[in-house]
Symmetry: D2
Amino acid sequence: MSYASQMLESDIASRIDPSQLAETIDALGDCAQACTADADADLREDSVASMVTCIRLCLDCSDVCTATRGVISRRAAYDEAVTGPLLAACAETCARCREECERHAHEHSHCMVCAEACRRCEQACRDLLTVGKTSG
Amino acid sequence: MSYASQMLESDIASRIDPSQLAETIDALGDCAQACTADADADLREDSVASMVTCIRLCLDCSDVCTATRGVISRRAAYDEAVTGPLLAACAETCARCREECERHAHEHSHCMVCAEACRRCEQACRDLLTVGKTSG
Amino acid sequence: MSYASQMLESDIASRIDPSQLAETIDALGDCAQACTADADADLREDSVASMVTCIRLCLDCSDVCTATRGVISRRAAYDEAVTGPLLAACAETCARCREECERHAHEHSHCMVCAEACRRCEQACRDLLTVGKTSG
Amino acid sequence: MSYASQMLESDIASRIDPSQLAETIDALGDCAQACTADADADLREDSVASMVTCIRLCLDCSDVCTATRGVISRRAAYDEAVTGPLLAACAETCARCREECERHAHEHSHCMVCAEACRRCEQACRDLLTVGKTSG
């Protein structure tokens, strides 16, 4: 059980299922790390010149996932006006990064791993967004 | 002249006016710092219990501005699908943080300073968003 | 198996055992998240005024762990002169945050969870630092 | 006058000259941004394969400066045990990044700009470290 999950267990005031929230927090942290590592692995390829778009999107995705993880980890004074658009932007960034990583996945296993992390994170953000809207 | 401005001078391929981009980058960095400092100043107030919403929004706003600054600082493989929603989310976060800071501005000058940083940053994000859309 | 671990499997050029590196990366990410969540949980306590030191140290620890995770995730052009002092600073920050969290652990279970995350992260940083020095 | 400077004016309890602290905060934010922008400008060069070390160090330096800026912006419960080693690690990172950027400065003006930002930031960190030690 992750620390996120342990922290959230007593968050009974929340409208959101703690296990879903913990899963999203974990997906965001994993995706941020996968993108940082993939950008670096791209830099070590001989074909680095052809990986520039992938590197750039990975750096963007890592930044956005890190910020989103911080914001949704904060339960004091939860504010849908902040969280909603950010989750939407994060899902969009993950989608773009995943598409680009998939283009290189047949050649570079690190891009395949990163694409999978982005896919899971995009889905988690979209799922949380849906819950936020229906229960708001 | 800021480093951002010096870096962008030769970015002639960009559709966006380098001075406007540099101004936005500076506004994002200033807002991130103002929010970090304001959250901390709130923590030092005797009335910290009444500042919880302000602290939370300042922490959120700092995270989102830092990520947005990173993303718009990257000109390689610029991607409106990533930048657009993020600028919109950032403007929204700045707006919410500004509103809350304004509620405390008469009492705490640090909140007044932070509200001003948020206002300038929100405006810069919205202006850049407009340019991105019209020239896309 | 974490994404970090999958990414590092083929990093055979490294002097550092990939599984140890992956474990450290995971410990840093977990600690950053635990600290963000603990600072927030502190803010929601009635006794928030007595939690200010804990909040501040958690925010610091989250920032430092996030940066350290980024740096040690990058294997291209690995540089002991950068990584060494940062791991040492991170271990020190985790130690201070853990000490403060332990002071509140009997009262707040979220502080107990955070203290444990800090302890594991401090140990992981010190272990990696030792490897770096002996194999440098 | 920067927001940092305005925020710090009333921080009379601090042992550190507010204007020196504000200057360091600004130098850290400027350096983080310059490094982000330089890594990106490197990615856009035809000779990207020869810029890998520079890109990696710029990404590291941006992460470390951002974390350090956060930590020294927090004045509540100031803790030399946290701040000291982090400022030292940050100065070291800036020094390494500056050295690498200087190697490319004759060819790429963006590296020259970044080297200057790193030099100023390294000096600011070392100066603040000295003050912290003498007044601690």
